[in-house]
């Protein structure tokens, strides 16, 4: 099973981080998540359904998010994903390490330019 094929191009954990960050903004169902990430990234990032749903199941299993019955904007039954306390902590850690890594990469890139 090719779990990570859809994440190709992103570093490991990037998709999770973006999902968690989006859910911190507000609880959402699957399609809304796709739209949300697409919008806020100005269409730069397109989340593939093929990676989104397995990733959501993975995070459910880790206990970072939880799902609740809810209704979609159109009033049909769906499942709303919400960030848990553990998810919030994990997100903070991820962001910290991401920022460190990003700073590192930026410095390398800056040096290489000279």
């Amino acid at each position: 099973m090719e779990k990570n094929s859809a994440n190709r191009g992103l570093f490991p954990g990037a998709l999770e981080m973006m999902i968690l960050q989006s859910l911190r903004y507000k609880p959402m169902h699957g399609y809304a998540l796709v739209k949300h990430i697409q919008q806020v990234s100005d269409d730069l990032l397109q989340v593939e359904e093929g990676s989104l749903y397995p990733a959501l199941q993975r995070m459910l299993k880790q206990g970072w998010v939880e799902s609740k019955e809810g209704v979609s904007a159109k009033g049909r039954p769906t499942r709303i994903y919400r960030l848990t306390q553990a998810g919030r902590r994990h997100l903070e850690e991820e962001i910290t390490s991401f920022e460190k890594m990003f700073a590192g990469i930026a410095r390398v890139m800056a040096t290489a330019k000279v």
Binding site: G30, Y31, V34, P54, Q57, K61, R76, T78
Partner: protein, 894 residues
């Protein structure tokens, strides 16, 4: 989240997932419709953008699973469902596998126990065994040979010696004849065993020659059965042939002596022989009955021991028998050899090792056949489910997944086959042991299931599963979705399926049938040829005189009375005593010589001397060729009877009747001393008889005639009585009646028919015949089933095509021809291969079983014919069905 709560909550997650994805698609569709797309197109576009919903759901669900394990479980369930859909075929397949594996278990259990398993001592592979050997005859060493060899050799840490005997043992008031093994005091050290209880005796005790009492070790079996496994057995006294012995220890469980399957009750120091026979006899250089075993020193090999033995043999032979009478004359042809000693002395191994190898060889063929048969069944299943594979491949199933699916299905057939087979084989092995006969060959054999037997069979089963499943699996994996979809509506031809299997099955069947025919022919030949003994209507009885404490003259008188009583019974035609049981492998060698009319001395170093009363020949059915068997006259030279071959050897070109045959005198050349007191006068020549065994050539025999009731030096009545009557019942009843009247209270007389003795003598052949027969029948059955199934399937699949052809005017003849052409080619290839394979197998079998085997090219040809006939019969039903196809029906049917 712990794993088990995961299992309970995951169903909810699966449901949530489906709901979310459904909503996802729905929202996307509406969005597209908002952009102005019609609903149909919007739904389609949404789905295409989303991708394979089923696959994605599966992949998402996989997050909650142990994917490998669970998909395996799903495959197993699918396989089970598939197998249960055609329970009949599945059952037959399991049954054939069970039969194949069962036969393998049975044969291998025997092979393991008889040939492969070593003595239950540490590192039996280090043991080496010294014997005196001449061809197939194996005897022991003399005491001097042992002691000198023990001093001279440097490859083993030490040499032990043992011999076995049967003696009356008294425990309290109960006396019974028991098997006893005598061991040198160092035996336990060399073997490295520990007593189950008490202690063993040591070398000092052995050398003391019973001066401080004779220590005895009880076998574990006897300890359990006679002493109920109680510790009080230690210190108890037994009486062995009049000598008191004291139990000091118990042998470890499973140790059954150094002679395989002998199961001695008691183990005594070797010096017990001195007590019994006196120093002179016990250490006689001519008594070659000590078996010698050593344990190789670290770093030494059997090859070293052989080289060393070759170097020291001349010295050993010379020092052990300075006169040269025994080792230089009587046992001149016996070579001192050293062999692997892991099994101890095992007569059953000597007799059955080669037949078992033959059976193992045939077994491989049977397993191959089972394998092919299972392959055919699986091929049929796979090709019948082409459409299923097409759909699965189209849905994204990997090739490996299909291969796995087929292999799992095969395994589901093989596992019950393995379990059933091992169980059936277990029972079968016991049945086989019972067939090994009980006189001459052992009836007691402990068969223990063990890891090796189980592992070998499991390995065989796995090989069968892999062998049977791989081809169909690859066939399934080769499914091409595009081609498959198209092919679905068309009738499939069976051309590419299983043709080679028919050839293979027929070839193997012919080989197995030919092997069975060869072995069966040999048995029939052995049973029906003129062997110098006519077993019909004759019985043989043992009065068991050894159980009685009688003086020689009492024995002579008693046996004479019994004989007279038997002879006077109405319906009894002849009766006589003989000094040994025929057809049990018993042989003794005596040196005698004759002087012919040209004064030429003819020496016979190893003729077979027996004592018989005059009535024996008519009773046993050994025909008198010339002369007359007559009783001895008082004061005259004793009479004797020669077998034809011996008469010819001793008196090459003259009649032997009336001539004298002399016993050789120790240490003197033949002819130097012609004492009439040591001679007998030939009164008759009788036909050669296969007295030793039906499968060995008739020995050169001299029958010393004894008068029942007359005492004579060296005459010790055996109590073995052969009686011929109107039928065996009359003869047996006559003996029983006589024994009841004449024999003292408490004695037992065992009566057997000569036919039973013959059956026991041929038990090895009968075992080979029954097993190879079962194999052959199994082979024929599998071949018939395979051919029938394949053709029937082909006819069913081509019904439509055949219908069209018939509708277009094809005759039934041409339909049959087109159907059978391929099969005929495959059968022809099979027959040709089979004849070649059978011929090769027969060569191997003949080489393994050195005795003359009957059978020939004719046997192989007939086997080919039989298999062909079965093949035709199996093919007839599908052919008839094809010929009866009604074009209308066929075209209407889908």
């Amino acid at each position: 989240m712990s794993w088990f709560s995961t299992i309970f909550t995951r169903r909810r997650h699966y449901r949530d997932l489906s709901v979310t994805i459904a909503e996802h698609l729905e929202e996307r569709t509406e969005e597209l419709m908002d952009e102005g797309m019609p609903r149909d197109e919007a739904e389609h576009t949404a789905r295409r953008e989303f991708g394979n919903v089923a696959l994605l759901e599966e992949r998402s669900r996989a997050e909650w699973q142990w994917p490998r394990l669970e998909s395996l479980w799903a495959d197993v369930r699918l396989a089970a469902r598939q197998l249960l859909r055609s329970p009949g075929i599945s059952f037959i397949t399991v049954l054939t596998l069970a039969l194949g594996i069962g036969a393998n278990t049975a044969v291998f259990t025997l092979t393991w126990n008889i040939v492969l398993a070593g003595l239950p001592v540490p590192h039996p592979e280090q043991l080496v065994q010294y014997t005196m050997t001449k061809g197939n005859s194996v005897i022991g060493l003399s005491w001097p040979e042992y002691t000198i060899l023990r001093q001279r050799q440097n490859t083993s840490s030490d040499l032990l010696a043992w011999n076995s005997d049967e003696e009356p043992v008294r425990q309290g008031s109960y006396t019974h004849s028991e098997k006893i093994q005598l061991l040198t005091g160092n035996a336990f050290r060399v073997l490295g065993i520990q007593p189950a209880m008490g202690r063993f005796f040591d070398e000092a005790e052995d050398e003391a020659q019973g001066a401080k009492g004779v220590p005895a070790i009880l076998s574990y079996e006897a300890w359990q059965s006679r002493f109920h496994g109680e510790a009080s057995a230690l210190g108890q006294s037994l009486n062995v042939k009049g000598h008191p012995v004291t139990i000091v220890g118990v042998m470890p469980r499973g140790f059954e002596g150094l002679t395989a399957n002998l199961h001695p009750m008691l183990y005594l120091p070797m010096s017990f022989e001195v007590l019994e026979e006196g120093e002179k006899d016990a250490t006689n250089a001519g008594q070659l009955d000590r078996y010698v075993m050593g344990r190789l020193l670290p770093g030494k090999t059997l090859r070293d021991a052989r080289a060393e033995l070759q170097a020291i043999t001349p010295t050993v032979r010379k020092e052990a028998d300075p006169t040269g009478i025994f080792l230089g004359q009587f046992f001149k042809d016996f070579r001192l050899v050293v062999e692997p000693g892991r099994s101890g002395v095992s007569w059953v191994k000597m007799v059955y090792e080669r037949p078992l190898l033959v059976l193992e060889l045939l077994m491989v063929l049977v397993l191959a056949l089972c394998c092919v048969n299972t392959t055919l069944v699986m091929l049929a299943r796979v090709s019948g489910r082409q459409s299923e594979y097409v759909v699965r491949v189209a849905l994204g199933a990997g090739k490996m997944r299909l291969v796995r699916q087929v292999l799992i299905e095969t395994t589901l057939l093989v596992v019950p086959g393995l379990l059933g087979g091992v169980f059936a084989g277990w029972l079968g092995a016991h049945a086989l042991v019972a067939m090994l006969g009980d006189r001459g060959t052992p009836s007691q054999m402990d068969l223990r299931p063990n890891a090796v037997i189980l592992a070998v069979n499991t390995a065989a089963a796995i090989l069968v599963a892999l062998g049977a499943g791989l081809w169909p699996a690859l066939h399934a994996a080769g499914t091409n979705p595009a081609k498959g979809m198209k092919a679905q509506s068309r009738s499939l031809s069976s051309k590419h399926l299983g043709g080679w299997a028919i050839s293979l099955q027929i070839a193997v069947s012919i080989t197995l049938v030919a092997a069975a025919a060869l072995l069966g022919g040999t048995l029939v030949h052995l049973m029906t040829e003129n062997n110098g003994l006519r077993v019909q209507n004759a019985v043989i009885a043992d009065l068991n005189l050894n159980d009685l404490k009688l003086k020689s003259n009492q024995r002579v008188a008693l046996t004479s009375r019994v004989l007279q009583r038997v002879q006077s019974t109405p319906g009894v035609e002849a009766a006589g005593y003989i000094s040994a049981y025929p057809m049990t492998g018993y042989f003794s060698a005596t040196r005698m010589f004759s002087v012919d009319r040209n004064q030429i001395i003819h020496s016979k170093p190893s003729l077979f001397l027996l004592q018989a009363t005059a009535g024996y020949f008519d009773a046993a059915g050994t025909r008198i060729l010339t002369g007359k068997v007559s009783a001895n006259e008082a004061g005259a030279i004793n009479n004797c009877v020669l077998s034809e071959s011996l008469a010819h050897a001793l008196f090459p070109d003259q009649s032997a009747v009336g001539e004298l045959v002399y016993h050789s005198k120790m240490g003197l050349p033949d002819g130097a001393d012609m004492d009439p007191q040591r001679a007998c006068r030939v009164t008759a020549v009788v036909e050669d008889a296969k007295f030793v065994s039906l499968r060995s050539p008739a020995p050169e025999m001299l029958y010393d005639i004894e008068n029942a009731g007359v005492e004579r030096k060296f005459y010790d009545p055996s109590g073995i009585l052969v009686v011929r009557g109107k039928n065996t019942t009359v003869a047996a009843d006559a003996v029983k009646e006589a024994a009841r009247e004449m024999m003292p209270q408490g004695t037992t007389t065992s009566v057997q028919t000569l036919g039973q003795l013959m059956d026991q003598d041929l038990s090895r052949e009968r075992m080979l015949v029954s097993l190879s027969g079962i194999f052959a029948v199994l082979a024929l059955l599998l071949t018939a089933l395979g051919l029938y199934g394949l053709l029937m399937r082909s006819v069913t699949l081509r019904t439509r095509e055949l219908g069209i052809r018939m509708a277009l005017g094809a005759g039934r003849g041409s339909i049959l021809a087109s159907l059978s052409r391929r099969v005929l080619i495959e059968v022809a290839i099979g027959v040709a291969g089979g004849l070649a394979l059978a011929w090769m197998t027969e060569g191997v079998v003949r080489r393994l079983l050195t005795e003359p085997q009957s059978g020939s090219a004719v046997g192989i040809a007939v086997s080919g014919g039989v298999v062909l006939l079965i093949a035709v019969l199996a093919a007839a039903v599908p052919a008839i069905r094809a010929a009866r196809i009604d074009p209308m029906e066929a075209l209407r049917a889908e």
